[in-house]
Symmetry: C2
Subunit: 166 residues, 2 copies
Protein backbone atom coordinates (compact mmCIF):
# COMPACT_ATOMS: atom_id res chain seq x y z
CA UNK A 1 0.00 0.00 0.00
CA UNK A 2 2.94 2.33 -0.53
CA UNK A 3 0.81 4.45 -2.81
CA UNK A 4 -1.52 5.45 0.02
CA UNK A 5 1.40 6.51 2.24
CA UNK A 6 1.81 10.19 3.08
CA UNK A 7 4.72 11.96 1.40
CA UNK A 8 6.37 14.24 3.92
CA UNK A 9 8.83 16.17 1.78
CA UNK A 10 7.62 19.27 -0.04
CA UNK A 11 7.76 19.84 -3.76
CA UNK A 12 10.68 22.20 -4.34
CA UNK A 13 12.58 23.82 -7.16
CA UNK A 14 14.50 20.55 -7.33
CA UNK A 15 11.58 19.10 -9.20
CA UNK A 16 12.47 21.27 -12.17
CA UNK A 17 9.44 23.52 -11.85
CA UNK A 18 9.47 27.27 -11.33
CA UNK A 19 7.17 27.35 -8.31
CA UNK A 20 8.33 30.83 -7.37
CA UNK A 21 6.76 32.54 -10.37
CA UNK A 22 3.78 30.15 -10.45
CA UNK A 23 2.89 31.10 -6.89
CA UNK A 24 3.77 34.75 -7.27
CA UNK A 25 1.35 34.92 -10.18
CA UNK A 26 -1.36 33.24 -8.14
CA UNK A 27 -1.05 35.59 -5.18
CA UNK A 28 -0.55 38.70 -7.31
CA UNK A 29 -3.59 38.00 -9.44
CA UNK A 30 -5.72 37.25 -6.42
CA UNK A 31 -5.03 40.62 -4.82
CA UNK A 32 -5.14 42.40 -8.17
CA UNK A 33 -8.74 41.29 -8.73
CA UNK A 34 -9.77 41.84 -5.11
CA UNK A 35 -9.66 45.64 -5.60
CA UNK A 36 -12.40 45.93 -8.23
CA UNK A 37 -14.33 43.01 -6.75
CA UNK A 38 -14.98 45.05 -3.62
CA UNK A 39 -16.36 47.96 -5.67
CA UNK A 40 -18.46 45.69 -7.90
CA UNK A 41 -20.10 44.22 -4.82
CA UNK A 42 -21.65 47.58 -3.99
CA UNK A 43 -23.28 47.66 -7.41
CA UNK A 44 -24.51 44.06 -7.26
CA UNK A 45 -22.12 43.20 -10.08
CA UNK A 46 -19.50 40.48 -10.38
CA UNK A 47 -16.24 39.97 -12.19
CA UNK A 48 -18.11 39.07 -15.38
CA UNK A 49 -19.66 42.53 -15.50
CA UNK A 50 -16.24 44.08 -15.02
CA UNK A 51 -14.77 42.29 -18.00
CA UNK A 52 -17.63 43.27 -20.28
CA UNK A 53 -17.60 46.88 -19.13
CA UNK A 54 -13.82 47.07 -19.49
CA UNK A 55 -13.66 45.92 -23.08
CA UNK A 56 -16.69 47.95 -24.17
CA UNK A 57 -14.86 50.99 -22.83
CA UNK A 58 -11.59 50.08 -24.47
CA UNK A 59 -13.15 49.11 -27.81
CA UNK A 60 -16.33 51.18 -28.05
CA UNK A 61 -18.59 50.11 -30.88
CA UNK A 62 -17.53 46.48 -30.87
CA UNK A 63 -20.27 43.98 -31.69
CA UNK A 64 -21.60 41.18 -29.54
CA UNK A 65 -19.72 38.63 -31.66
CA UNK A 66 -16.44 40.52 -31.25
CA UNK A 67 -16.95 40.75 -27.52
CA UNK A 68 -17.53 37.01 -27.28
CA UNK A 69 -14.29 36.49 -29.19
CA UNK A 70 -12.32 38.59 -26.73
CA UNK A 71 -13.88 37.15 -23.59
CA UNK A 72 -13.95 33.57 -24.87
CA UNK A 73 -17.27 32.79 -23.25
CA UNK A 74 -20.53 31.67 -24.79
CA UNK A 75 -23.33 33.88 -26.01
CA UNK A 76 -25.63 32.61 -23.28
CA UNK A 77 -23.14 33.43 -20.57
CA UNK A 78 -22.69 36.92 -21.90
CA UNK A 79 -26.43 37.54 -22.32
CA UNK A 80 -27.44 37.90 -18.69
CA UNK A 81 -24.48 40.06 -17.74
CA UNK A 82 -24.81 42.32 -20.77
CA UNK A 83 -28.57 42.68 -20.25
CA UNK A 84 -28.03 43.91 -16.70
CA UNK A 85 -25.43 46.42 -17.79
CA UNK A 86 -27.79 47.73 -20.48
CA UNK A 87 -30.86 47.77 -18.21
CA UNK A 88 -28.90 49.65 -15.56
CA UNK A 89 -27.69 52.20 -18.09
CA UNK A 90 -23.97 51.43 -18.21
CA UNK A 91 -23.95 50.29 -21.83
CA UNK A 92 -26.09 51.16 -24.84
CA UNK A 93 -26.64 49.26 -28.06
CA UNK A 94 -26.63 50.97 -31.44
CA UNK A 95 -27.66 49.13 -34.62
CA UNK A 96 -24.71 48.60 -36.94
CA UNK A 97 -24.57 51.21 -39.72
CA UNK A 98 -23.78 48.77 -42.50
CA UNK A 99 -25.36 45.61 -41.09
CA UNK A 100 -28.42 46.45 -39.02
CA UNK A 101 -28.43 42.98 -37.45
CA UNK A 102 -25.33 43.87 -35.51
CA UNK A 103 -25.51 45.70 -32.20
CA UNK A 104 -22.61 48.00 -31.59
CA UNK A 105 -21.89 48.33 -27.89
CA UNK A 106 -20.95 51.68 -26.36
CA UNK A 107 -20.49 52.81 -22.78
CA UNK A 108 -22.64 55.63 -21.41
CA UNK A 109 -21.04 58.32 -19.26
CA UNK A 110 -22.14 56.26 -16.26
CA UNK A 111 -20.45 53.20 -17.76
CA UNK A 112 -17.29 55.16 -18.52
CA UNK A 113 -17.15 56.43 -14.95
CA UNK A 114 -17.56 52.97 -13.45
CA UNK A 115 -14.96 51.43 -15.76
CA UNK A 116 -12.50 54.09 -14.70
CA UNK A 117 -13.34 53.66 -11.01
CA UNK A 118 -12.68 49.91 -11.33
CA UNK A 119 -9.38 50.40 -13.14
CA UNK A 120 -8.06 53.01 -10.74
CA UNK A 121 -7.16 50.83 -7.75
CA UNK A 122 -5.56 48.32 -10.09
CA UNK A 123 -3.51 51.04 -11.72
CA UNK A 124 -2.53 52.37 -8.30
CA UNK A 125 -1.39 48.93 -7.23
CA UNK A 126 0.70 48.57 -10.38
CA UNK A 127 2.24 52.01 -9.94
CA UNK A 128 3.10 51.26 -6.33
CA UNK A 129 4.69 47.95 -7.32
CA UNK A 130 6.78 49.68 -9.97
CA UNK A 131 7.94 52.38 -7.59
CA UNK A 132 10.11 49.84 -5.79
CA UNK A 133 11.40 48.60 -9.14
CA UNK A 134 14.50 49.36 -11.17
CA UNK A 135 14.12 51.43 -14.33
CA UNK A 136 13.35 49.08 -17.18
CA UNK A 137 11.50 46.63 -14.98
CA UNK A 138 8.18 47.91 -16.28
CA UNK A 139 9.09 47.03 -19.85
CA UNK A 140 10.47 43.68 -18.72
CA UNK A 141 7.24 42.84 -16.94
CA UNK A 142 5.16 43.80 -19.95
CA UNK A 143 7.34 41.74 -22.29
CA UNK A 144 7.11 38.75 -19.96
CA UNK A 145 3.34 38.94 -19.59
CA UNK A 146 2.90 39.26 -23.33
CA UNK A 147 5.11 36.24 -23.90
CA UNK A 148 2.95 34.26 -21.47
CA UNK A 149 -0.06 34.65 -23.79
CA UNK A 150 -0.73 32.05 -26.47
CA UNK A 151 0.90 33.39 -29.65
CA UNK A 152 -2.29 33.16 -31.71
CA UNK A 153 -4.10 35.35 -29.19
CA UNK A 154 -1.52 38.13 -29.08
CA UNK A 155 -3.11 39.71 -32.15
CA UNK A 156 -6.20 40.39 -30.03
CA UNK A 157 -4.11 42.40 -27.60
CA UNK A 158 -2.75 44.53 -30.39
CA UNK A 159 -6.25 45.71 -31.28
CA UNK A 160 -6.52 47.53 -27.98
CA UNK A 161 -5.60 51.21 -28.10
CA UNK A 162 -2.17 51.53 -26.59
CA UNK A 163 -0.92 54.95 -27.63
CA UNK A 164 -2.22 58.24 -26.41
CA UNK A 165 -5.18 58.70 -28.73
CA UNK A 166 -5.82 62.24 -29.90
Amino acid sequence: MTDADPIKTPLTLDDGVDFAIIEHLFFAYRDFTADPDAILDEYGFGRAHHRVLHFVNRLPGLTVAELLEVLRITKQSLARVLKQLIDDGYIVQVPGPRDRRQRELYPTQKGRDLALALALPQSRRIRAALEEAEPGDSAAVERFLRAMVNPELRAQMDKLPNGRSK
Copy 2:
Protein backbone atom coordinates in the same frame (compact mmCIF):
# COMPACT_ATOMS: atom_id res chain seq x y z
CA MET B 1 -30.58 62.64 -21.56
CA THR B 2 -26.89 63.15 -22.27
CA ASP B 3 -26.09 60.43 -19.75
CA ALA B 4 -27.69 57.75 -21.90
CA ASP B 5 -25.70 58.81 -24.97
CA PRO B 6 -23.09 56.43 -26.36
CA ILE B 7 -19.47 57.45 -25.80
CA LYS B 8 -17.52 56.72 -28.95
CA THR B 9 -13.95 57.37 -27.83
CA PRO B 10 -12.02 54.57 -26.15
CA LEU B 11 -10.47 54.71 -22.72
CA THR B 12 -6.75 55.19 -23.27
CA LEU B 13 -3.56 55.76 -21.33
CA ASP B 14 -4.58 59.40 -21.31
CA ASP B 15 -6.96 58.58 -18.55
CA GLY B 16 -4.01 58.03 -16.23
CA VAL B 17 -4.48 54.31 -15.96
CA ASP B 18 -1.96 51.65 -16.92
CA PHE B 19 -4.25 49.61 -19.15
CA ALA B 20 -1.30 47.90 -20.79
CA ILE B 21 -0.27 45.96 -17.70
CA ILE B 22 -3.86 45.53 -16.51
CA GLU B 23 -4.78 43.81 -19.75
CA HIS B 24 -1.51 41.94 -20.09
CA LEU B 25 -2.13 40.45 -16.65
CA PHE B 26 -5.65 39.47 -17.64
CA PHE B 27 -4.64 37.68 -20.81
CA ALA B 28 -1.51 36.12 -19.31
CA TYR B 29 -3.36 34.72 -16.33
CA ARG B 30 -6.14 33.37 -18.52
CA ASP B 31 -3.77 31.32 -20.65
CA PHE B 32 -1.62 30.41 -17.65
CA THR B 33 -4.58 28.70 -15.95
CA ALA B 34 -5.87 27.14 -19.17
CA ASP B 35 -2.98 24.64 -19.20
CA PRO B 36 -3.80 22.81 -15.95
CA ASP B 37 -7.54 23.30 -16.48
CA ALA B 38 -7.40 21.03 -19.52
CA ILE B 39 -5.65 18.28 -17.50
CA LEU B 40 -7.98 18.67 -14.52
CA ASP B 41 -10.96 18.15 -16.82
CA GLU B 42 -9.81 14.61 -17.56
CA TYR B 43 -9.87 13.82 -13.86
CA GLY B 44 -13.23 15.43 -13.21
CA PHE B 45 -11.50 18.07 -11.12
CA GLY B 46 -11.61 21.86 -11.26
CA ARG B 47 -9.38 24.75 -10.39
CA ALA B 48 -10.33 24.45 -6.73
CA HIS B 49 -8.86 20.94 -6.58
CA HIS B 50 -5.70 22.23 -8.18
CA ARG B 51 -5.14 24.89 -5.56
CA VAL B 52 -5.67 22.44 -2.69
CA LEU B 53 -3.42 19.82 -4.22
CA HIS B 54 -0.75 22.39 -4.97
CA PHE B 55 -0.44 23.75 -1.46
CA VAL B 56 -0.65 20.33 0.18
CA ASN B 57 2.31 19.33 -1.96
CA ARG B 58 4.23 22.50 -1.23
CA LEU B 59 3.49 22.47 2.52
CA PRO B 60 2.96 18.81 3.38
CA GLY B 61 1.54 18.32 6.86
CA LEU B 62 -0.34 21.59 6.97
CA THR B 63 -3.64 21.51 8.83
CA VAL B 64 -7.09 22.25 7.50
CA ALA B 65 -7.11 25.60 9.28
CA GLU B 66 -3.76 26.57 7.74
CA LEU B 67 -4.99 25.58 4.31
CA LEU B 68 -8.09 27.74 4.72
CA GLU B 69 -5.83 30.62 5.67
CA VAL B 70 -3.76 30.25 2.51
CA LEU B 71 -6.69 29.75 0.16
CA ARG B 72 -8.92 32.35 1.82
CA ILE B 73 -12.08 30.31 1.34
CA THR B 74 -14.56 28.95 3.88
CA LYS B 75 -14.44 25.58 5.57
CA GLN B 76 -17.58 24.45 3.76
CA SER B 77 -16.16 25.38 0.38
CA LEU B 78 -12.99 23.46 1.08
CA ALA B 79 -14.84 20.43 2.45
CA ARG B 80 -16.31 19.18 -0.80
CA VAL B 81 -13.12 19.55 -2.78
CA LEU B 82 -10.89 18.09 -0.08
CA LYS B 83 -13.21 15.13 0.44
CA GLN B 84 -12.99 14.22 -3.24
CA LEU B 85 -9.21 14.43 -3.24
CA ILE B 86 -9.06 12.18 -0.15
CA ASP B 87 -11.65 9.71 -1.44
CA ASP B 88 -9.81 9.45 -4.74
CA GLY B 89 -6.49 8.83 -2.98
CA TYR B 90 -4.59 12.03 -3.83
CA ILE B 91 -4.36 13.28 -0.26
CA VAL B 92 -4.28 11.52 3.12
CA GLN B 93 -5.07 12.85 6.57
CA VAL B 94 -2.89 12.10 9.58
CA PRO B 95 -3.95 13.05 13.12
CA GLY B 96 -1.77 15.83 14.51
CA PRO B 97 0.98 14.47 16.81
CA ARG B 98 0.56 17.09 19.52
CA ASP B 99 -3.10 17.99 19.01
CA ARG B 100 -5.06 14.98 17.85
CA ARG B 101 -8.00 17.15 16.79
CA GLN B 102 -5.92 18.47 13.91
CA ARG B 103 -5.69 16.64 10.61
CA GLU B 104 -2.34 17.03 8.93
CA LEU B 105 -2.70 16.85 5.16
CA TYR B 106 -0.16 15.00 3.04
CA PRO B 107 -0.07 14.10 -0.64
CA THR B 108 0.16 10.44 -1.67
CA GLN B 109 2.48 9.44 -4.50
CA LYS B 110 -0.54 9.72 -6.78
CA GLY B 111 -1.18 13.24 -5.46
CA ARG B 112 2.47 14.20 -5.89
CA ASP B 113 2.45 12.96 -9.47
CA LEU B 114 -0.68 14.90 -10.37
CA ALA B 115 0.57 18.10 -8.72
CA LEU B 116 3.74 17.87 -10.75
CA ALA B 117 1.84 17.11 -13.97
CA LEU B 118 -0.28 20.22 -13.40
CA ALA B 119 2.70 22.45 -12.67
CA LEU B 120 4.73 21.26 -15.65
CA PRO B 121 2.93 23.04 -18.50
CA GLN B 122 2.85 26.22 -16.42
CA SER B 123 6.55 25.98 -15.78
CA ARG B 124 7.18 25.30 -19.46
CA ARG B 125 5.17 28.39 -20.38
CA ILE B 126 7.16 30.50 -17.95
CA ARG B 127 10.47 29.13 -19.20
CA ALA B 128 9.47 29.83 -22.81
CA ALA B 129 8.44 33.37 -21.91
CA LEU B 130 11.77 33.98 -20.19
CA GLU B 131 13.76 32.62 -23.10
CA GLU B 132 12.85 35.69 -25.15
CA ALA B 133 13.75 37.89 -22.17
CA GLU B 134 16.86 39.80 -21.21
CA PRO B 135 18.98 38.49 -18.35
CA GLY B 136 17.64 39.91 -15.12
CA ASP B 137 14.09 40.03 -16.40
CA SER B 138 13.21 36.97 -14.37
CA ALA B 139 14.18 38.65 -11.12
CA ALA B 140 12.39 41.84 -12.17
CA VAL B 141 9.21 39.91 -12.86
CA GLU B 142 9.39 38.14 -9.52
CA ARG B 143 10.00 41.41 -7.66
CA PHE B 144 7.10 43.03 -9.45
CA LEU B 145 4.66 40.19 -8.76
CA ARG B 146 5.67 40.11 -5.11
CA ALA B 147 5.12 43.86 -4.83
CA MET B 148 1.64 43.40 -6.28
CA VAL B 149 0.62 41.29 -3.29
CA ASN B 150 -0.90 42.95 -0.24
CA PRO B 151 2.01 43.58 2.18
CA GLU B 152 0.35 41.73 5.05
CA LEU B 153 0.02 38.62 2.91
CA ARG B 154 3.64 38.49 1.77
CA ALA B 155 4.59 36.64 4.95
CA GLN B 156 2.47 33.73 3.72
CA MET B 157 4.54 33.50 0.57
CA ASP B 158 7.72 33.33 2.59
CA LYS B 159 6.53 30.14 4.27
CA LEU B 160 6.71 28.28 0.99
CA PRO B 161 9.96 26.39 0.39
CA ASN B 162 11.98 28.40 -2.07
CA GLY B 163 15.50 27.05 -1.86
CA ARG B 164 16.64 23.70 -3.07
CA SER B 165 15.74 21.51 -0.11
CA LYS B 166 18.27 18.86 0.81
